[in-house]
């Protein structure tokens, strides 16, 4: 049973990558790739977020801090060494892991809303530091030149889409592994009652640190290619609070009990936002984000997968 599941999962992953790769070869219209990139990026971010926020129940509002640090790690590397994209992502992941460790230290003393507020605080402190870092462009931002595109891809954006698709598979595979292993069960135990978990021998500190480090590394890695995608970076947009709230909303809308939840939420909200941004305006976009967040938190606290499960349970009983 388990083996069949694993085969189905990896089959789907390979199929997904294959479809993305084929579309980069066959589809000419670049708009689809600009929109698709953003959605894939949000899938990585919200899956990564739910490793800490969903399984462990620590609501991290610092997604934009990790994303922004990823962006600026890439900017720094491009400006100083001209490192290739793969190196940018790897270094961003390493720095994200360190930052995740720092956030993990916060969980030692804070829970609930205090942890959430501390992560917002951390975001603004890092943003202000980057704003005052003259070599990285300061508040005005910085322009970045894309290098020539590598072989099989017709354009750089299409390559970035494929790279982000790889990150999606990586993030989902990690989240799925955690969920099915003792790590996920331990995280759920500490989510339900941290004291009780600690007392029954669950290594809560080690688990929280693991979740923070993995989640942070993935978020930073997802941010790194954004520098090349936009060819421009400025602190106010890279560290925008909208990333934190969007990602949180996606995870909550989809449901955080299973890795598929944040994926569904990110696709749903990401597609809606792309459509709205094209057809109406970015303000209405934020409005829809707020309304959907409120509606789901009030009406469907378990998210979309919660709605399906409830129906499944009801049918099972009948």
């Amino acid at each position: 049973m388990m083996k069949q599941n694993a085969m189905a999962f990896w089959g789907a992953a390979v199929l997904f990558l294959g479809v993305v790769f084929l579309s980069t070869q066959l589809v000419g219209n670049e708009y689809w790739f600009f929109a698709g990139y953003v959605i894939l990026q949000f899938i990585v971010l919200s899956v990564a977020w739910s490793i800490l926020g969903g399984y462990a129940g620590y609501v991290n509002f610092g997604t934009s801090a990790f994303f922004g640090v990823g962006v600026y790690t890439a900017v720094f590397l491009i400006k100083t060494t001209g490192a290739p994209l793969a190196v940018q992502i790897a270094v961003a992941a390493a720095i994200g892991a360190i930052l995740g460790f720092a956030v993990g230290l916060l969980t030692l003393r804070m829970q609930g809303i205090f942890f959430s507020i501390a992560t917002i605080a951390l975001t603004i402190v890092i943003e202000t530091t980057v704003t005052n870092w003259r070599d990285l462009g300061g508040a005005a931002g910085i322009q970045i030149q894309r290098p020539p595109v590598t072989a099989p891809f017709p354009s750089y954006v299409q390559m970035l889409v494929f790279v982000q698709a790889l990150l999606v598979v990586l993030a989902v595979a990690i989240a799925r592994y955690i969920q099915n292993s003792w790590i996920g069960r331990g995280l759920q135990a500490l989510r339900d009652d941290e004291l009780a978990a600690e007392c029954t021998g669950v290594p809560t500190l080690r688990l929280k640190m693991t979740a923070c480090v993995i989640s942070g590394a993935l978020m930073c890695a997802a941010g790194a290619p954004a520098a090349m995608y936009l060819q421009y970076a400025d602190p106010a947009s890279a560290f925008n609070l909208n990333y934190s709230v969007s990602v949180l909303a996606m995870a909550l809308i989809g449901g955080t009990a299973h890795w598929i939840g944040p994926v569904i939420g990110a696709i749903l909200l990401g597609v809606t936002q792309q459509l709205l941004a094209v057809t109406i305006s970015s303000e209405v976009n934020v409005l829809v984000l707020g309304v959907m967040l409120v509606l789901f938190v009030v009406g469907a606290p378990e998210g979309i997968i919660g709605l399906f499960r409830k129906r499944g349970r009801a049918e099972g009983k009948a």
Partner: protein, 312 residues
């Protein structure tokens, strides 16, 4: 997604201060301005000190409500030429009712259902804050707005020092507001009931009182004081729709530093924040301003989560 948390608000402050940098000791001036600014921060935080400090509601939308009140004051001032402070008083009853309704909604959807109410509550209030932000943008646009009154734009001289009159006004009103609220909570029956609920909800229930109605009343008051606070916000500096994001840091910093729910503590904590901000502003420049409140908050949370002045 466009840029947010603009430094414009703080640059206006800096322009004021740097006018007389050469005429007197900049540090002393920074401290004086900081104390005045701090009292203003106390006025905008005191509602949160009740709702978050006493009632444990994760009210991240508090600064958004504040900015909304500022826009209501702006509207009354702009269309009917009403004095901003009077306008703030006029909208107070409306805000009170709004607060009652908001708490009822929060209670029915989160507190009554129990588990992880705080976690989903904070997401809920963020959603509400975003909705308010966009509604303001859709109605008033993204430009900065300010009010007109006889005391805005003038300043008083004390020897070499020049203090903007609007800061003096906000200082006096803020002290008054804090005193009124502190007296209300310690002297009146309802005020004592609110503090009793904060201390031990179960005991209040056993005494035959309904804790939910007391908390609802308290949340109404916490929202009602935003009328005057919002007036001060737009008197002290121009307001734009996304200003609430900067004030999340300031208000929560003050309330957490004050030790959750102490009114005099709120005043002291706000003055510490005000002085810290103006000193850093004078020494490092306006671009560091947004980080000060958040850095202080992070420090307090990490070192002394019960607050500098708190007993809990």
């Amino acid at each position: 997604m466009d840029g947010r948390v603009k430094p414009g608000h703080d640059e206006a402050e800096k322009g004021e201060g740097s006018l007389n940098l050469f005429s007197m000791d900049p540090l002393l001036e920074a401290v004086v301005t900081g104390v005045l600014l701090g009292c203003f921060y106390a006025a905008v935080s005191i509602g949160l000190s009740v709702s978050f400090g006493l009632l444990d509601v994760p009210h991240v939308a508090h600064p958004a409500f504040l900015v909304l009140a500022s826009y209501a004051v702006y509207f009354l001032n702009d269309s009917y030429d009403i004095d901003p402070l009077l306008a703030g008083l006029l909208i107070t009853p409306v805000l009170f009712v709004f607060g009652l309704a908001a708490y009822r909604l929060y209670y029915e959807t989160f507190e009554r259902r129990g588990s992880d109410a705080a976690v989903r509550g904070i997401a809920f209030f963020f959603g509400v804050a975003f909705i308010i932000e966009v509604l303001i943008i859709l109605h008033f646009g993204v430009d900065q707005r300010s009010v007109t009154a006889s005391y805005i734009g003038k300043s008083w001289r004390f020897g070499d020092m020049r203090i903007p009159l609007r800061l003096m006004v906000s200082f006096a009103v803020a002290i008054g507001l804090t005193a009124v609220l502190a007296t209300y909570l310690s002297r009146t029956f309802m005020g004592r009931a609110i503090r009793a609920v904060a201390q031990d909800e179960e005991a209040v229930r056993l005494m035959g009182a309904n804790p939910v109605r007391i908390k609802q009343w308290a949340f109404g008051i916490a929202t009602a004081v935003l009328g005057v606070a919002g007036a001060l916000l737009i008197i002290v500096a121009p307001v734009d729709p996304t200003l609430d994001r900067a004030y999340i840091g300031r208000t929560f910093c003050v309330v957490v530093m004050a030790g959750l729910g102490s009114m005099t503590g709120t005043l002291i904590a706000a003055i510490i924040l005000g002085v810290a901000e103006t000193i850093v502003l004078t020494m490092l420049g306006a671009s560091w301003a947004p980080a000060i409140s958040f850095a202080l908050l992070l420090g307090v949370l990490a070192v002394r989560p019960q607050g500098l002045l708190g007993r809990r």
